[in-house]
């Protein structure tokens, strides 16, 4: 008879969001008494490497509160670059001087709206913290062959024949989420036919904490400040061109980059691997099923234009942890849809709003039609002159516009 691992919660997927979920449940362990397993087909520790994930994330003010409550912020503070200003321009690639139409700064937002941190440092901080809690059981290097959604418990069968029996399975298994498919949950969405090219650059002059978002004809081109004279790039291109660039020679890549980068930061040098990710929008039709809750990309993939993907994932973690802790506190079945429906109700609206806002922005800006360009330039200039409206956008980017679970208000787990 194959070994059966009994656990209250099985988290599947050790990406950023899955790790954050595991750590949050571990921090709440003393009060909830719930046992937590983290399962991953690969090695989550290996992700803390620029060659594995060269991206950086914008961590909003509320997400910083959460990372402080989880006691991982001290490990990240030295790697975090506050974004003091966001400059948005809209121009043709060849335009030399780019008029700034939107200019967000701390005076408008009351506090730095977000910090940029490279993903490799976030993986490392979360992974170290999970190890130190001693309350998360790790089962890595084994994939899940089948999932059975039973009345009394979910059963996951691993490729080595072992079974995991859990009251609740949390699917953090990414945009293709095999768990979501196994539970029969469908998705809606579309591809943009665009890829996001990601790399890091070192530059001659300091960025002074200024992020730049240029809306170029092929799509947004963002320069996001990292500590020191470095920046992270998110560069949108049509799919084939992005593939050619990433797979091509260094000189061509550098030349194409310089055409778009502008001259504000002086001379530039590529300082990280070049990767490209397909861009698309995908929303799961349901975030829950009996004994299953989906978080992160398994629930929603949004366009990275506003840098909100990881923050949405952290909000999933905060709300789901809150829901599960409340159910456990009352002795209720944490895998029942009676309680999980509160998670779904709290997250679906926020997710849809974010997804549609990001999608709308991208559609508006990924078009070189002259008339459309005039309309959006006029609109951006208006927004720039209207203080309250800018405050709203800045708050939206900082994640301050939706009611927050305790952990994101800085009230602890």
């Amino acid at each position: 008879m194959a070994e059966t691992i009994q656990t209250d919660i099985a988290i599947v997927g050790g990406g950023l969001v899955g790790m954050a979920m595991a750590l949050t449940m571990a921090r709440a362990h003393a009060q909830s008494g719930l046992s937590v397993c983290l399962l991953d087909a690969g090695d989550p520790a290996a992700r803390a490497n620029i060659e594995a994930d060269g991206r950086a994330s914008a961590i909003t003010a509320t997400a910083v509160n959460m990372l402080k409550a989880l006691q991982v912020w001290p490990r990240l503070a030295d790697h975090a670059q506050p974004m003091r200003e966001i400059k948005v321009t809209d121009s043709q690639t060849s335009a030399r001087g780019r008029p700034v139409f939107l200019h967000f700064d701390e005076a408008v937002s009351r506090a730095a709206s977000a910090h940029m941190i490279e993903n490799r440092f976030i993986y490392d901080a979360l992974w170290q913290a999970i190890g130190e809690t001693g309350t998360v059981t790790l089962h890595t290097g084994h994939s899940i062959e089948t999932a059975d959604w039973g009345e009394a418990a979910a059963r996951l069968v691993l490729d080595d024949g072992r079974n995991v029996s859990a009251a609740l399975v949390i699917g953090a298994d990414g945009r293709a989420s095999p768990l979501r498919a196994s539970a029969g949950i469908e998705t809606v969405g579309w591809s943009y036919g665009q890829h996001g090219i990601v790399t890091s650059v070192a530059h001659e002059k300091p960025h002074n904490g200024i992020a730049e978002e240029h809306f170029l004809p092929a799509g947004p081109f963002a320069i996001l400040p990292l500590p020191g004279n470095r920046s992270s790039l998110v560069w949108t291109e049509r799919e084939e061109f992005a593939r050619d660039l990433v797979g091509g020679d260094d000189a061509t890549f550098q030349a194409e980059l310089e055409r778009r980068f502008g001259e504000r930061l002086g001379r530039i040098a590529i300082d990280g691997p070049r990767m490209s990710y397909p861009l698309g929008m995908q929303l799961s039709k349901a975030f829950i099923a009996p004994r299953l809750a989906l978080i992160g990309d398994a629930a929603h993939v949004v366009h990275p234009i506003a840098g909100l993907g990881f923050n949405l994932g952290l909000r999933d973690v905060a709300v789901l942890a809150d829901t599960v802790a409340n159910e456990a506190r009352l002795g209720l079945d944490i895998g029942s849809t009676a309680g999980l429906s509160r998670y779904q109700a709290a997250r679906r609206f926020d997710t849809l709003t974010t997804a549609l806002t990001s999608d709308g922005l991208n559609r508006l800006f990924s078009n070189d039609n002259a008339a459309l360009r005039m309309v959006r330039d006029f609109g951006l200039a208006l927004v720039d002159r209207a203080g309250p409206l800018k405050g709203f956008f800045m708050d939206q980017a900082a994640g301050r516009n939706t009611p927050l679970p305790a952990i994101m208000r800085g009230d602890g787990v």
Partner: protein, 252 residues
């Protein structure tokens, strides 16, 4: 097990049959008992908070009730017995309906929860001399024929220093409008005929019955449905659903 016909039982046969017919659907959160599933958090929150304060239990304990013996009278499919067991209590679940007990037992077995389910009545348990730290008497008194006799039997099983929680429906015009017309006929939350308004019990009648049975009434709290939050919440208004807490004085 041969069961003596309860001579002065307060149970009405037609009431028992009504719930037996629904037993299989007890555990579907979207089924016929969805209202009870929605109602569960507010009553469990009240029980946890009040019992922890009364028995000096740390509010953050993972298993707060681990030293307590609990009776859930009229336990139905076990919607309260399972949470109380997870919170550490040693639980006896009693219901007059064999089918409810069968449903509850099968469900608890599947989840690996050890609960002592018995198809019996409060009168029989009291006659057998059973005693508990906490007696849960939730959404039952509005279905019994003789409220004071029933409360007397339940209260007799509360140990000195122990608690009895009662949840029921007030007999007001508002409760007729909301609990009968609204919940059963307009919204369809409950099957028609679930409740009989004439059997609803006022807080005055209930507190008198508790005092007559030797318990001190420590609290009365209203409960109402908040449609915006889609959740039941505590309120000062006892006009429809309410909770009452009785305590048997400790012996000196």
């Amino acid at each position: 097990m041969s069961k003596p016909a309860p001579a002065q039982s307060s149970i009405i046969d037609s009431e028992v049959e009504k719930f037996s017919a629904l037993a299989a659907q007890w555990w579907d959160p979207d089924g016929k008992f969805h209202t009870l599933h929605k109602f569960n958090p507010v009553r469990l929150g009240y029980i946890r908070e009040r019992a922890s304060a009364h028995f000096n239990i740390a509010p953050d304990a993972a298993k707060p009730f681990s030293d307590l013996r609990v009776l859930d009278i009229g336990c139905g499919g076990g919607l309260l017995c399972e949470p109380m067991t997870r919170l550490g209590a040693d639980v006896v679940g009693a219901d007059a309906s064999e089918r409810n007990i069968g449903t509850a037992r099968a469900h608890a077995d599947a989840l690996g929860l050890a609960i002592d389910y018995r198809a019996t009545t409060a009168e029989e348990l009291a006659a057998a001399g059973e005693e508990f730290d906490i007696v849960l008497n939730m959404e039952v008194v509005e279905h019994v024929a003789d409220v004071s006799a029933f409360i007397g039997s339940c209260a007799a099983m509360v140990r000195p220093g122990g608690l009895m929680f009662v949840a029921t429906l007030n007999r007001t015009l508002k409760s007729f409008a909301l609990a009968i017309v609204g919940a059963e006929y307009v919204l369809g939350w409950l099957p028609r005929g679930t409740h009989n308004w004439e059997q609803f019990v006022t807080p005055g009648e209930l507190s008198r019955a508790l005092r007559d049975a030797g318990l001190d009434v420590q609290d009365t709290s209203g409960v109402r449905y908040n449609p915006l939050a889609d959740a039941w919440q505590r309120t000062g208004d006892t006009g429809v659903n309410y909770l009452m807490l009785g305590a048997r004085p400790a012996q000196h």
